[in-house]
């Protein structure tokens, strides 16, 4: 009996000693380091992601911080963010600064593959886990690099599968045989182009490429390219570029009075508001695109629903110059993954964080869809069906999902009127 009491007292003493140490070791803040581009070519995809992430941080800090299992308490997040101005060299320097000077606990990339590409080797060399927000370049995810995971968007090597499947199945049935593809030569759209080419060639159908050209990402002028595409008489045109590329391309089509029978572009679905502002709604009518989480209401098991988030965004950034779109969802989604990972990670060691992030794979569902990673950290979930834009009589943009069939809610209009 006496022995039991002594044992209990000893256990209580140990618990109090380690408990005190446990609390004392808890940092006063979790430093989250990230980059954004307030100017340059990638500003329009970077700022919404950054604002989304900031919104999550503000929300958590207002609640007293984010819960960190390793310390069993809520800890406020301090954001350390630098402007890379869409410049990869600047981004490389700043990634190094975040890791070596600021000694951040969590490293989050800028938006998009181009600005993420320079962070991948730096993070790996410094053994820092990189929360890759939207950098989908397939080359980032390799078996020898455990220090990365993609938060939103499927990796570019699988992302365009629904597009290729639609063209080779339904599209082929509609008469699509001759495909023209124009893409920007960067990690994002270059990888997508390779994937589209591969999937279509492997389909065994009679769909052939009559035009397949890469162009620099900062191309702004498309008149000659469009004329060259038109000369090949394609049944379908796939344009893979960033938002400024899509704006310039569709602008050129409109100005030149060119109407392809089938046109696929990425950003009418990703940044619809931005493209509407630039082009008006009519030029977007009947364009095929990815239907993303900024349009589809997923049922999350963690975090807000799309409608609530959009309301919060509009309240916070009302009258601002950053449009709501897929990228604003993606930034917030990064925050949710971080929050969930911290709630299960046993420590703030980078490989422990990785383990925590990977443990969410297939289980976490946010407003962005199902979070699912392959063993290399490439995102396989968060899929984006293929849709066609339909502008109604009141000039409202609607998305008609046409592929895959199990989520389709309408039939494609082909050829484009």
């Amino acid at each position: 009996m006496f022995g039991k009491v002594r044992l209990s007292l000893f256990a209580a003493l140990l618990a109090s000693i380690f408990g005190t140490a446990y609390a004392a070791d808890a940092p006063k803040e979790i430093k989250l380091g990230t980059l954004y581009a307030s100017s340059g070519r990638f500003a329009s995809i970077s700022m919404p992601v950054h604002y989304g992430l900031k919104l999550w941080i503000e929300q958590k800090n207002a609640e007293g911080g984010v819960f960190v299992k390793a310390f069993n308490k809520k800890i406020p997040i301090t954001l350390v963010a630098y402007d890379d101005q869409s410049n990869t060299a600047t981004a490389a320097t700043l990634f190094n600064q975040l890791i070596t000077q600021d000694k951040v606990d969590l490293l989050v990339s800028d938006s998009g593959s181009v600005l993420t590409s320079v962070g991948v080797p730096i993070a790996r060399d410094n053994k820092m886990f990189l929360f890759d927000q939207t950098g989908t370049g397939a080359a980032f995810f390799t078996p020898d690099n455990p220090y990365i995971a993609l938060m939103s968007d499927p990796v570019s090597s699988v992302w365009p599968k629904p597009l290729a499947d639609f063209i080779t199945h339904d599209g082929n049935g509609l008469g699509i045989k001759r495909v023209a593809m124009l893409y920007s030569t960067n990690d994002f759209t270059g990888t997508q182009a390779n994937a589209v080419r591969k999937f279509i060639k492997e389909s065994g159908t009679d769909v052939e490429f009559v035009y397949d050209q890469g162009i620099p990402t900062d191309t702004t002028n498309y008149a000659v390219l469009i004329n060259n595409i038109r000369a090949t008489n394609p049944d379908a045109v796939i344009h893979l570029g960033y938002a400024p590329n899509d704006i310039a391309f569709i602008h050129s089509l409109e100005d030149g009075g060119v109407n392809f029978k089938f046109l696929f572009c990425i950003y009418p679905g990703l940044e619809t508001e931005l493209l509407e502002k630039n082009l008006g709604v009519k030029p977007l009518n009947y364009i095929f695109t990815y239907v993303t989480s900024s349009e589809i209401e997923y049922e999350p098991n963690f975090g807000m629903k799309l409608k609530e988030y959009k309301e919060l965004w509009n309240k916070k950034y009302a009258g601002g110059n950053v449009e709501f779109g897929f990228n604003s969802v993606a930034g917030y989604n990064t925050g949710l993954v971080i929050e969930k990972a911290l709630s299960v990670a046993e420590s703030l060691e980078q490989l422990e964080i990785r383990k925590a992030v990977f443990s969410l794979s297939g289980k976490l569902k946010t407003l962005d869809g199902t979070f699912e990673l392959d063993p290399n950290g490439a995102q396989l979930g968060m899929s984006t069906p293929i849709g066609q834009i339909n502008v109604d009589d009141h000039d409202h943009v609607k998305f008609v999902t046409v592929w895959p069939h199990e989520v389709a809610n309408g039939k494609p209009v082909y050829p484009r009127p």
């Binding site: 101005q85 162009i215 702004t220 008149a223 100005d255 110059n321």
Partner: protein
């Protein structure tokens, strides 16, 4: 395809002539490089964008508005920056630093005011105005849409910018060779010191040339949403670099050289886009290196120094 590429190159080259004209005029008169030139183009583009967005003013009437606004803006800006700069030991080199700083300030202010996202004017707006003008002139109903040249159809904006560029070149020549001010301007271009010694009000002449340069940049800016797809506060630097390459190819200080440089650039660019599209954006730099190696004073270099 060949004809289209050639004609597109001519029109695109004319647009870069329009951009380069003002930059070259400022260099010719003051021997300073206005690295903020592209930023004034950006401001002209935003002027057109806002006039269209807020008051539905078509870009065509915006052209004279932009020219006048920036011509007038040029005077105070000249007196604020340039005379001090010209008193320095090496104004040509220092102008790089000063105008680079100005470029950064303009870009930062524009970003604060208008955000970072792309902005554009919906396609067809220029075509609408041109169709209306052509209908008025010809007395026939002209449909809004692309314009045919030698059986090839081009966006109306391209043709309009080509015409504006042609007018710009003629205007600069008329100004330089047909007006008293131009006569004095050429005197300053030949030798600033001798012009001062002759009693010419060099600052007044230079301020007018500076304003003229900004005005031409702003006019080019009005066409930017159509020729360059969209506009952002950060677009200026890239435009400046390309137009600087254009005027160096032609020859610094010579408006005719700018025309030649613009056309060489435009045609080469379009051929590159057609046949080696991935490498197209390297072109201005390749041309620049080639010209500097073969003719260090530019294609019309000799004439430039005798202007």
């Amino acid at each position: 395809m060949l004809t289209y590429t050639l004609l597109a190159g001519l029109l695109f080259g004319l647009y870069f002539t329009l951009i380069g004209l003002g930059l070259n005029l400022v260099f010719g008169v003051m021997r300073i490089v206005n690295l903020a030139h592209g930023d004034f183009l950006m401001l002209g583009a935003f002027l057109a964008f806002w006039l269209f967005s807020l008051f539905a003013i078509n870009p065509i009437p915006t052209i004279p508005i932009a020219f006048l606004v920036f011509l007038l803006l040029g005077f105070p800006l000249y007196y604020l920056l340039v005379p001090r700069l010209l008193r320095a030991k090496d104004p040509e080199m220092l102008s790089f630093i000063l105008f680079f700083g100005l470029s950064q300030v303009i870009q930062a202010l524009a970003t604060i005011l208008w955000g970072t996202s792309e902005r554009s004017i919906p396609g067809g707006q220029l075509g609408r105005a041109i169709a209306a003008i052509l209908s008025f002139v010809t007395g026939r109903t002209i449909e809004n849409g692309p314009i045919e040249i030698l059986g090839q159809s081009f966006p109306a904006a391209w043709v309009a910018s080509g015409i504006a560029s042609g007018i710009g070149v003629l205007l600069v020549y008329w100004y330089l060779y047909r007006t008293k001010l131009g006569y004095l301007t050429r005197a300053v271009m030949v030798s600033r010191d001798e012009a001062v010694a002759s009693g010419i009000d060099v600052d007044r002449i230079s301020a007018i040339a500076f304003g003229f340069g900004l005005g031409l940049a702003a006019v080019a800016g009005v066409f930017a949403p159509f020729l360059l797809g969209s506009i952002t506060p950060a677009m200026g630097a890239e435009v400046t670099i390309t137009s600087f390459a254009v005027i160096v190819i032609g020859s610094l200080g010579n408006p005719l050289g700018t025309l030649l440089g613009g056309l060489v650039y435009g045609i080469s660019y379009m051929f590159m886009q057609s046949y080696y599209s991935s490498w197209a954006n390297l072109l201005p730099y390749l041309l620049l290196i080639a010209v500097l190696l073969l003719r260090p004073n530019g294609l019309l270099g000799r004439q430039a120094r005798r202007a």
